[in-house]
């Protein structure tokens, strides 16, 4: 049976490689591959080669060992890293994290599930299949973080591989175990629950220790909390419970060969225990529960598509009116019906990261200041990255191009209709952040007068929809001009050429944005300069209004110009993700 699994892996890898090489005959893939190779060379390999020895590694960045990086955060950092791992492990029981290990493709489900092989074999096969991808990830990460020559890089790569594999196994095990209780016998039910009980115990012991510590001595500031938590993680019962989490981190953090060899047995033990647990719980697949969302394969790709939930809507589309409104309504339905815990978790993660970052930057100079800084960051992030993240436009709807093409709607109206809803969503989010930023602006920009703060803030809000719409127009223009470079649905193209294509698109997008904004910026700036003596800080408003109006006119013209591109767009040129 192992040979059958290896045969599938070998054939898949060979055919995938063959297809990628064959498609290099097309200029678009060749260009992408050239850009991708150049990026990989300059971003990773050339930097790795020119790196200083490990002993002379500077502060952070390439050439620093993970230990060096952690030491910058203080002596408690390794223990806190274990604590963070525990938190993630505990959270995964409530919000399962898709490890990808159990993402059986449709073909695998169709051919392997009815095959006379055990479900444990299927899980083992998926574990085996995941090795190459995890090893590649580990090797690339090792190039970034580790100095000290080839031996050091190999040690680091193996350490990262063990860490990543253990994480993958754990998350896969959680997914299986969460579905196990209702279907398995008593004995195996308890086996499936062991890690859960262990995690509960660990969380309980840490919580109890934190409670005792806080009751004895209140925490004064962030640094104090950081050190206190570090101390808790390194003593008593929490230390015992955190041992598996510390063990998997040790080979990754080991600075010397001796330390690495010393750390290896414990990490290997944890890895093996996780593998045994996943294999033991693998028979849950026998029950047909492979339809669980976490086990669902994506449409031809490794990712799972978004899940929608049927909900009544207050907005009922009328049977007459502009076509653009129908597209806005369609976009609104999509947004309101999407239920994706991963998206929410990621959003929470970003917010937490921003809070921590603002705390670190501001050293706790007050809640209002933190909130203000956070809001400013969030607004900037939303405006700059929102159009890249929220792709509820033609980039997603190219998947339905065959249907859209049959509709009796002007091409320019289709393009405009697709842009309006995502622009509204991103603008509203950015405005909400902007209002918070304006509210707390006195704490953040305390050396700037109120009129200036209000004027600049309002001007930023005026410019927001124009900036967002401009980016959406450019992204959608790219989708219409280079449909083969836009990958549909939740899938993501792989390969060096795909990396290059993404880089070219990103560079082109930013360059086009600058060109698009230039006329408005020049005219708006000129107006602001001319009226400054008359209006003072409030001159920002006519400047921003004028700039936004010019961008708006440009975008109307641009969407009209995109109409013929849409009409000429060939459905066969739209590429489905691998």
């Amino acid at each position: 049976m192992l040979r059958a699994g290896l045969y599938i892996m070998w054939c898949s890898a060979r055919n995938r490689m063959r297809r990628r090489i064959q498609r290099l005959r097309e200029p678009r893939y060749l260009t992408g591959a050239a850009a991708g190779v150049a990026y990989l060379y300059f971003a990773i390999f050339s930097r790795a080669r020119s790196r200083r020895p490990a002993g002379s590694a500077g502060r952070g960045g390439v050439g620093a060992t993970p230990t060096t990086l952690l030491s910058l955060l203080g002596p408690s950092a390794p223990a806190l890293a274990s604590l963070l791992l525990l938190l993630v492990a505990a959270a995964s029981w409530i919000f399962p994290i898709g490890s990808g290990l159990l993402n059986f493709s449709r073909a695998e489900k169709q051919f392997l599930f009815p095959a006379p092989v055990s479900r444990r074999w299927l899980v083992a096969y998926r574990l085996l299949r995941a090795q190459l991808a995890v090893l590649i990830s580990a090797s690339v990460l090792a190039l970034f973080y580790r100095g000290g020559g080839a031996g050091g890089q190999l040690r680091s790569a193996l350490g990262i591989w063990m860490f990543l594999m253990t994480c993958h196994l754990y998350f896969a095990g959680v997914t299986l175990a969460r579905r196990r209780p209702s279907v398995a016998g008593t004995a195996s039910r308890w086996i499936g629950r062991i890690p859960f009980l262990f995690t509960i115990g660990a969380m309980g012991s840490v919580a109890a220790a934190v409670g005792r510590m806080v009751a004895a001595r209140p925490v004064t500031d962030f640094r104090d909390a950081w050190d206190t938590l570090g101390g808790i993680a390194q003593t008593g019962l929490p230390q015992v419970f955190l041992w598996p989490f510390t063990a998997v981190l040790q080979p990754f953090l080991a600075a010397t060969s001796a330390a690495w060899i010393q750390a290896l047995p414990a990490a290997a033990l944890v890895l093996l225990a996780a593998a045994a647990w996943v294999l033991r719980t693998g028979d849950v697949l026998d029950t047909g529960l492979d339809s669980a969302p976490e086990l669902q394969p994506a449409r031809g790709a490794a990712r799972r598509p978004l899940q929608y939930r049927s909900r009544p809507s207050a907005w009922v589309l009328g049977s007459a009116g502009r076509a653009e409104t129908a597209f806005v309504w369609k976009g609104a339905m999509q947004t309101f019906r999407v239920v994706d815990w991963r998206l929410m978790l990621r959003g929470t993660g970003i917010v937490v990261w921003l809070v921590v970052a603002s705390l670190a930057v501001n050293r706790a100079r007050g809640f209002s200041e933190i909130l203000g800084v956070l809001a400013v960051f969030a607004m900037g992030f939303t405006v700059a990255m929102g159009p890249q993240i929220l792709r509820a436009d033609l980039r997603q709807d190219l998947e339905h191009l065959e249907l859209l093409k049959t509709w009796p709607v002007r091409a320019a109206s289709v393009v405009r209709g697709e842009l309006i809803w995502p622009t509204m969503v991103v603008t509203i989010v950015a405005w909400a952040c902007g209002i918070v930023a304006l509210t707390f602006s006195a704490a953040v920009f305390n050396s700037t007068g109120r009129p200036w703060r209000m004027a600049v803030g309002t001007a930023a809000m005026i410019l927001t929809p124009a900036l967002v719409l401009a980016q959406y127009t450019i992204h959608n223009a790219a989708a219409l001009m280079f449909p083969a470079w836009i990958h549909l649905g939740a899938g993501r193209a792989r390969g060096v050429d795909a990396i290059g294509q993404r880089l070219i698109l990103l560079g082109g997008t930013w360059l086009t944005l600058v060109v698009l904004l230039l006329p408005g910026t020049i005219v708006g700036g000129a107006i602001a300069l001319a009226l400054y003596r008359l209006a003072g800080p409030w001159v920002c408003l006519p400047g921003a209004l004028c700039c936004a109006a010019i961008i708006g006119i440009e975008l109307v013209v641009a969407t009209e110009a995109l109409g013929p591109l849409y009409e000429r767009l060939d459905v066969t040129s739209v590429e489905r993700a691998e």
Binding site: P305, L306, Y308, R309, S310, P312, S313, V316, L317, G318, S319, A320, G321, A323, A326, W329, K330, M333, Q334, R337, V338, E399, H400, L401, E402, L403, K405, T406, W407, P408, V409, R410, E567, R568, D570, V571, T572
Partner: protein
Amino acid sequence: MSIALQRLRCVFGSFVAVDDLSLDVGQGEIVGLIGPNGAGKTTTLRMLAGILRPTSGRVSVAGYDMAQAPLDAKRALAFMPDEPHLFEYLTVEEHLRLMARLYTVPDFERRARVLLDELELGGKERSLPSELSRGMRQKVVIACGLVRDAAALLFDEPLTGLDPIGISRMRETIARRARAGAAILVSSHLLHLVQEMCTRVVIMDRGRKIADGTVEQIASRSDIALSGSNLEQVFLHVTGHGPTNAGHD
């Protein structure tokens, strides 16, 4: 003619998918488009629906040229593809509502109610496509096409995934639309159903039309001479897979 194709040709690279195809479907006519896999049937329907641009030739729907007046041509047309691609986030009713908006259907509520009952989709109005079976999804696609009075209806494998009751009802639905004056072009591999449903049959092979007429007319052609045969026998013979051709293969 409600549907007219003139010397249609479609080329992908060096592959000729459809070659010199001319075809007319009049009001009230149900024409079956049949052929082996890769014959060019779906490509023909996609060119007719305005999804693919023909390399050369002319497509006209209800008198509107698809190249010159695409919006008018599309408004007069309903295309029901074989793969039920639906918006995963819109319910059954919302799909119909969206179509009603795009095609400006005034009495949508009444039409939708009748259509949902006719296609046995009653009670599924608020279901998302992911909650429906393949056959149900196919019915939603068909309902989206029938929610308006299109002059020309294109069905690509309309019976795939339907249960026997669904197939029977679909045949009735198609026949009713034809009686109401619609020009209907049906592509299907279910030859016995095509024979029962269609007033005329067009057989394609390797991108070209190789036969056009009633089953009797094709069967009585001098080069075929299979009078009294059914469509399956005629089809096998015309496409070179019949008993008399087997020896040559």
